[in-house]
Amino acid sequence: MRIVDMNTGAAKLNKALEALKESWAETIETWEDQNARSFQEEHLEPIGPAIKMALDSTNRLAEVLARAQRECED
């Protein structure tokens, strides 16, 4: 029995990012000017790395906790 579940939260984060990317892809089909390009570069592109860092940290911690659980269980 797993004491901790980091996968569900991580999956939610990932899914949220994918949904946002899809929505933007639809938006720029009808918004094609410098403002759109600036908005993408300055406001949307930083989101990916921020989420990736959070997911990498989550995966790392999940591994640590899994090892801790194995060693501290019966």
Binding site: I3, V4, D5, M6, T8, G9, A10, K12, L13, K15, A16, L17, A19, L20, S23, W24, E26, T27, E29, T30, W31, E32, D33, Q34, N35, S38, F39, H43, L44, P46, I47, A50, I51, M53, A54, S57, T58, R60, L61, V64, L65, A68, Q69, E71, C72
Partner: protein
Amino acid sequence: MDGPANVRSIEAIRDFKAAMLQFAETATNAITTLQQEVMHFTEWLEHDRPSYWKNRVRDSYDTISQARVALENCKMREVAGNRPACIEEQEALAHAKRDLQQAQEKVETVRRWTINVRHEADEYRGRIGQLERYLESDLLKSIALLDRILTSLEDYASVSTSEGDAAEMITENSADENSADESPANSTKQGN
């Protein structure tokens, strides 16, 4: 706004603003879920495990005592003038001692992992906190900018519509005047 706008659907931008708000909410909920999981685990490790293994140590001591008594009793028995080998009793005592050793090692393992996990969890909270702050601050600024862009576009669209209506009215009036000029009475006047 920078440069000429090329927007074929203001509704699409409005939809994207809604998508950003949804993203902020979902991501924030995901972070809360993750932090709760970490908290739940550290509680298990710091409270449940120490008491579990200390109880196992205590139980092991009891089992050892019982196993020793059983072994002594066995050794004191005589069957047809011979003392039994008491192999089962010896094995039971050895097993109980191994259980005790394992339980004592686990107490130490739990102590080491408690320190390790606290450190890792603190680092994790720091990193995930950066994303939280981003969602609470930078992302909201991005959404506010989208709002301003939408307002500009909607204002421009409404002015364009008004000018378009006015232009249409001028065009209709001109058409009416031309029709009036083409009537026989006017033609006559124009002919002069």
